[in-house]
Amino acid sequence: MSEPRDEAGEVGRALDTLLGTYPPGTTEPKEFWGAQFDAGLAWVDFPPGEGGLGVSPSLNELVSRRLGDADAPTWNRTANILGIGMGAGVLAAHGTREQRRRWLRPMFTMEEIWCQMFSEPGAGSDVASLATRAVRDGDEWIVNGQKTWTTLAHLATWGLLVTRTDPDQPKHRGMTYFVVDMRAEGVDVRPLHQITGEAEFNEVFFDDVRIPDDQRIDDVGAGWRVVMTTLMNERVAIGGRTVPRNSGMIGVAMETWNESGSGDVGTRRELARLWGEVEAMRLTTLRAAENMRTGVPGPEGATAKLAWASLNKEVTSFTVSMLGLEGALIPEGYTLEPTTYDTREVERVMSPQRAFLRARANSIEGGTSEIMRNILGERVLGLPGEPRVDKDLPWKDVPRG
């Protein structure tokens, strides 16, 4: 009988080597991420050679803790969230080995930015009603249609794209999933400005765009399965990252309180209440990460997404109130600029006022809070679903208002 594998020890040693050879303080982030990927520490559960070590996904927690302690750059996960947080999980579960070898490393090093194109003007919460068409033409597919709210499309090299390939099937069945070259002919990206003035997301138009069949993910007609994987990864990426205590907006709230010099008991107690909520959420995420047996997140990811969205909105609003009249100002002002990396790097570079505005999206992006509650109620708790008028009709016959 062979020795049981000491997975934690293996990961620990790989981390020692990485941090010893590439001291974060003196290594360029891009070089560090490349080395991290090559050491199998990008996603430890992925196979060797594809950014992982083939060990339990629960050990990703160890990596993020050690890298955090060492002040290593980890902001690629936020800046390229649609790739690292979602695309990678999709490629792991549904991609081919060639696809993973081609796309994962430059994704992790941020040489190639990714975007995700699910939502359309007529298909938001109801993604499965999407209308962007892909038609097969030999070894290629020809795509026509429009996507919207596409975060970072203006910076992206690759896009995760879901299309309708069979309008006669019920809506969940006739979809096919692709990776599309965002610079391909016929792709037109137009900025959409948001509440802060910044253009973080875009509209994307497809006019006879050709996608080679080897950029299809999973089977023809299996798009919905891949969509579900993407969305579950997205929820975890948005709300479910394991983070150190006092990080993010609760840390900003604490600083704001400490700097205010206020002794107001009511405010302090309210801050402590919010801190407690955020900490309970953080511990829940840690517990979920430790219990994670497979790399594929389940519908429970909706818990983290739902809690994070409402707490982030509440904490940022409370922080602005703590600022008093200063909260009625916005230091950055409003300019209609496209997002660059710097502004997405970390929330902490934003003023609390701007973070407060940005937080409004948290309960919308990646699936609304109402949809999260439906998922928790129906898929986690097993409550009966709402009567559905659209599920079994052919896609083309569903009412669209």
Partner: protein, 358 residues
Amino acid sequence: MLADTVRSFLEATVEMDSVREASLARGAIHRPAWEGLAELGVVGLHIPEAYGGAGYSFVETAIVFEELGRRVVPLPLLSCVLASAAILAAGTESQKARYLPPIASGGCIASLAVFESAHDLSPLATRAVPDGDGWRLSGTKRYVTDASRAEAFVVAATTGDGVGLFFVQAGADGVTVTPTPSLDATRPLGEVALDGALVSEDAYLGGAANGEALRSALDAGVVALAQEQAGGAQRCLEISVEHAKSRFQFGRAIGSFQAVKHMCADMLVAVEHAKSAAWHAARTLEDPEESPIAVPLAKSVCSDAYVYVAGEMIQILGGLGFTWEHDAHLYFKRAKSNSLLLGSVDSHRDRLSDAIGI
């Protein structure tokens, strides 16, 4: 009647696109709306006829604010109400006769320069020192509404005998106005720095105890804001309900989902409460028994209601509600900003606690 007139005037004059544009040009003012409202006599509604106004009670002004709130128009009416209420409460006959008519006609935009720190009315550091026949003012006022478009300010300063209110021309020597980027860009705030600015003896509003006059001016402002909050919240509810009826997902109107329907119902309750609290405060503003309760009540209820309803509106609109191109953010920013202006909600709850004897 008045409400209908103002509403149809605003609907005809104010394109929401122009509101958005004005909000980018810092300190801009919606000129056609301002001139038209001035012509309708709206600016001086609460100012006695003897001083160029229409001589109504504050209720009429409140009606106007409810309508303005529905359209988040960048207009300096709140500033003019604050300044004129201060002059009315503190000025002598001759001061009122001199300073109020230009404000009442809309010809002179005036604002109230009181706050210095982010946290309410901590002791004022701005000082007024007698100098020859007049006074010299030094200090910096912050968070002054419409600072960069005001032609005059009523400035609160300590005189040695307590708070004094002074009428200061924006263009006077020693007065420097700097706009500050505001969360609600449709109501720009700014700094007014007074560096030994010299004003005449007559600029010292000497008709009444100035501390109380200041309080009553701020209370009038809170009541105006409360109406604006109620009107804004009402409009947010309408936008939400219209969207919930017309947006289809999963083959049905999203308003048919109980999650959305219940959100709208809760918003309706909040809006109704806000209107009641705002109206009660407007009607009792002159009542010394009730206004110490009604004013902070209005601030507390209407602030929470507007922030809540505007937030839920964005949620119901989904991605659309998060865009610059949609109107929703204008309301949302106005809601948060209003909750912070003219005394924090907490400070008003402290006043309320005192007033109700707890």
